[in-house]
């Protein structure tokens, strides 16, 4: 029994088994990535992704050879380091392939180079003496290379900080190897100068000078992320070497001072700190990246969208600085917690290697390397999660970038070499506390990142996803059919056409644009498209289980529901034809049920051509985007004095404030309240003042005179076609109100009767800002046997004859049996 367990735990066997498990994960990831286009298109006929399998092959080769080397030369090395490296780098490689195939191919070559480094480097290297001996040479070379970027620096992407040295398509970022060289130098220096009675100053002076020099270089280059990483690494190594806790406080203070100074000196720092503290203030500008990152994390939720099914490409530079956001979106909280566990395990094994190291140099070196990997991961993951200000460092092993990958692999190689002599007694450890504290701090950092990830993914996620700058909604609109808007006879007003992946909104009756609005990936939504969005998008009216299932499978809502409106296109056409080339609005209302039969607003626009017209429409002084019928606010003094108020017994309406009984009547007629309707409407006027009203309000008030004094509640969206129950009625939002006694309404209507016709009418004029308005109100008489109707016409011009002609035309068309 005992024999079996011990063989089972032989380090090289552990390494082999863990590598196999990592390979299973990578294989499944690659398989999922291959199938993802089919899942996205919801059909088996799709263009499957295959390129990344080359990357998988390279990955397998790299780690097969690395494992063979370690089996032959250093079989007693730490068995967790290599599998963790394999898991993380394979995961990163496939994520980069998924984001941008060209970058994936390059990263694959870099992985091969890093594999070569591992394979060549994995041989017994007693005491790493050469590193210790040539520490100054190495450091000077690193600093010189970094300094060269000041002169010859380029940026492979074109603009931005010039941190790379490049030639012939190969770019090196010298600050990456500089990290490693600085750690080696510090470890060697501290090990050589380990005094019995530690005094900080002599220990610090030369190292602080060198680190300061490196920092200056980085600051001159504006590589502030790496600079902050240097400060952290230096602090950790000095802390471990000296064992003084005050090092931590001094460094924290220094970092704070540097941060404040940087805030005022560097635009980059200011921008990033502002974006960190107040990202919601400028979501489309300075904090665009971080908001998009949070949206990606929120879209990932608990389980993630699956490889290839998220939209991480919406986050800028997602392959390097924001690869964590991409992973969070596609693998979800479950994936990132696993990622944090893997990083934590790597750091923990590294610190264990440090504790078991046979001399002070290797101990400090291993501590420094583990701390560097841990701190850099926390810095960038925390930056993506808005836990920390954004620092443009890479996520070790995962981010795109050859220099970063090589440096991380070199760090792991050194850790493996340090761990390869377990037979040696560990060096005595005079001060164990700094090691505990460092491990605790790194663990807390990862825990904080995990908790923050949970907060964005699970708690704030659902709210975040409804933000209008979440472009995933627009992408979903291309893949999921949006519901149609139909008129009362089922004729199409607005519908979605095309194939999944290329769905487009078709506006069959563009003149209705101010009412029905638009849905557009850039300009958002307006009108009914906005107010009925939950139904049209399928998030309301569908069974909750279906919505949940579709979100789980595709991260998208189920197919949208059609909505039937109360509009009658025949009547609507008359209004639109007549109003063309005029500015005005028309409302035709069923006076008893409140159903809106026609609602026109002119000038109008074509919502199908927003792409080219949006800017012009926004600046047009005639305001075509405004729905004048429901959102316009017009003076109505003539209407009050001649039509509504006289029945209250007040012939002359006071020009400043109406008296109480009149106010009550006007309020009952709804002139002081916005109509309750699933459509954006104008705000109400404050009481005690003469009301400014919309034509819709006028129509509802007029309806009371055709409907025995009852003001109906308006309705526009009549019914929604649900998959489970067919057409389901959408009830009116408000209730009818007895605005005035039936007899009084009848008297008023008869006072304005049109000779020989079954309806009353009234025409009047008002002025607004010096320009004239024409109001026309008409409606059936109270004793009309069929459906009672009211019509309101408003013209922003002095044109009573047109108003009367249009009003009568609409009434006659509506009353025709």
């Amino acid at each position: 029994m005992r024999r079996r367990i011990v063989r089972f735990l032989a380090p090289i066997t552990i390494e082999g088994r863990l590598l196999t498990l990592a390979a299973i994960f990578i294989f499944l990831y690659a398989l999922a990535l291959t199938l993802s286009p089919a899942a996205r298109a919801r059909t088996w006929e799709a263009n499957y992704r295959l390129v990344h399998w080359v990357g998988v092959a390279v990955w397998v080769g790299v780690f097969y050879f690395a494992h063979r080397q370690s089996k032959r030369h250093i079989p007693d090395s730490d068995p967790y380091l290599l599998p963790l490296t394999a898991l993380l780098s394979g995961w990163g490689l496939l994520t980069i392939f998924r984001l941008t195939t060209a970058f994936g191919a390059r990263q694959m070559l870099w992985l091969a180079a890093a594999g070569l480094l591992l394979t060549l480097g994995l041989r017994p290297a007693p005491e790493l003496r050469f590193l210790r001996r040539y520490k100054y040479l190495a450091l000077t070379a690193g600093l010189l290379l970094t300094a060269l970027t000041l002169i010859f620096g380029t940026n492979p992407l074109g603009g931005g900080p010039r941190l790379w040295l490049g030639c012939c398509g190969i770019y090196l970022q010298p600050s990456e190897p500089l990290k490693l060289l600085l750690i080696i130098y510090l470890a060697a220096y501290f090990a050589d100068h380990q005094p019995l009675n530690v005094r900080l100053l002599p220990l610090m002076a030369p190292t602080a000078l060198v680190t300061g020099l490196a920092l200056l270089l980085l600051i001159a280059q504006r590589d502030l992320g790496t600079a902050s990483l240097f400060i952290f690494t230096y602090t950790v190594m000095l802390f471990i070497a000296s064992g003084r806790k005050r090092v931590l406080f001094i460094s924290l203070l220094g970092l704070a001072v540097t941060g404040v100074a940087g805030y005022f000196l560097f635009d980059v720092v200011q921008l990033r700190v502002d974006a960190w503290l107040n990202p919601w203030l400028d979501p489309s500008g300075r904090s665009y990246q971080i908001i998009q990152s949070l949206l990606a994390i929120a879209n990932g939720g608990l389980g993630g969208r699956g490889p290839g099914l998220g939209n991480p490409g919406l986050v800028p530079v997602t392959h390097s600085d924001f690869i964590f956001a991409a992973i969070a979106e596609e693998m979800g909280l479950a994936g990132t917690l696993g990622l944090f566990c893997a990083i934590g395990l790597l750091v923990a094994r590294g610190l264990r290697v440090a504790l078991h190291a046979p001399d002070q140099f290797r101990r400090l070196l291993a501590t420094g390397l583990s701390a560097y990997l841990g701190i850099q991961s926390i810095l960038i993951a925390g930056g993506n999660l808005r836990l920390l200000p954004l620092t443009g460092v890479t996520l070790p092993f995962l981010s795109y970038g050859g220099s970063s990958l090589l440096t991380s692999f070199a760090a792991v190689l050194l850790l493996l070499l340090i761990s390869s002599q377990p037979e040696d007694e560990p060096a005595p450890l005079p001060q164990p506390r700094p090691h505990f504290i460092l491990a605790a701090l790194l663990g807390l950092g990862l825990l904080a990142a995990g908790l923050t990830n949970g907060w964005w993914a699970a708690v704030r996620g659902p709210d975040l996803l409804t933000r209008t700058d979440n472009a995933r909604r627009a992408i979903a609109d291309r893949y999921v059919r949006r519901g149609s808007l139909l008129d009362r006879q089922g004729r199409v007003i607005t519908a979605t056409t095309g194939q999944p992946g290329q769905y487009q909104r078709l506006y069959a009756y563009p003149d209705l644009a101010p009412v029905t609005g638009y849905t557009h990936p850039v300009y958002g939504q307006a009108g009914l498209e906005a107010s009925l969005d939950p139904y049209l998008r399928g998030l309301q009216g569908n069974p909750a289980a279906l919505i949940w299932w579709d979100h789980l499978l595709y991260g998208q809502p189920p197919p949208g529901l059609d909505v039937r409106l109360s509009l009658d296109l025949d009547i609507q056409q008359i209004a639109d034809r007549t109003l063309r080339n005029h500015i005005g609005a028309v409302v035709v209302l069923n006076a008893s049920s409140g159903e809106i039969l026609a609602m026109a607003s002119h000038p109008t626009y074509d919502p199908g051509r927003l792409d080219e017209q949006a800017a012009a429409l926004h600046q047009d002084p005639a305001a075509p985007l405004l729905n004048r019928a429901a959102q316009g606010r017009y003076p109505c003094t003539s209407m009050l004095t001649e039509l509504f108020a006289p029945t209250a017994g007040l012939r002359i309406f006071p020009s400043t404030a109406p008296n109480t009984s009149t106010l009550e009547l006007l309020d009952a007629l709804g002139l002081y309240q916005p109509p309750e309707l699933r459509l954006p409407v104008a705000d109400s006027s404050p009481p005690e003042r003469l009301p400014l009203i919309s034509p819709l309000q006028a129509a509802l008030a007029a309806a009371a005179y055709s409907n025995d004094g009852v003001r109906p509640s308006p309705r526009l969206a009549m019914a929604v076609n649900t998959p489970a129950q067919g057409w389901v009625i959408l009830p009116a939002l408000g209730a009818p109100v007895q605005a005035l006694p039936a007899e009084q309404a009848r008297l008023t209507a008869e006072e304005h009767i049109v000779a020989g016709e079954p309806y009353w009418e009234w025409v009047g004029q008002d002025s607004r800002n010096g320009s004239r308005l024409t109001w026309y109100l008409g409606g059936t008489l109270p004793d009309w046997q069929a459906t009672p109707v009211t019509v309101v016409v408003l013209l922003e011009e002095e044109n009573s004859s047109l108003a009367v002609r249009l009003g009568r035309m609409l009434l006659e068309e509506t009353l025709r049996p």
């Binding site: 367990i5 199938l35 599998p83 963790l84 389980g303 699956g306 490889p307 479950a334 696993g338 499978l553």
Partner: protein, 159 residues
Amino acid sequence: MSGPLFLVLRILLTASLYAFLGWAFFLLWQDIRQQAMLLALRKVPPISLMIQREGSAAQIRHFNQPEITIGRDPACECPLNDETVSARHARLSYHHGQWWLEDLNSTNGTRLNQEPVSTPTVIISDDEIGCGKARLTVIMAGDNLMPPTQKLPEEEKPA
């Protein structure tokens, strides 16, 4: 149909990630277990003390634990009811493959083969420990002597 199948794949993917981590943590646990078992394998060689006090017959006591405190306090592993012995007088402990004797600041001091003990000292069989007026003779059976550390059977390589 592609969606549900993909969901299964996604679940398998996450499961494989946690299989990796779970296996790693299981191995770490196994590692701890193995360390514990290795330590448990290091048996303490039994030690016996022949206690001789004035006015009473010599008596032999056998011990199996790695730490033996000698003193007047009855809670001591080896209590001595003697006025000249302090409450907690001296300690015998087994580490680094040896039994060590150490004085616990006793009033009358501890002697090893008549020499006063000031620092922890290695003892062997037939040594005589003096605590106050009591004398204790160390008896370690020869066949019970253990090598300092034990090799596991598996690490025995054919020579």
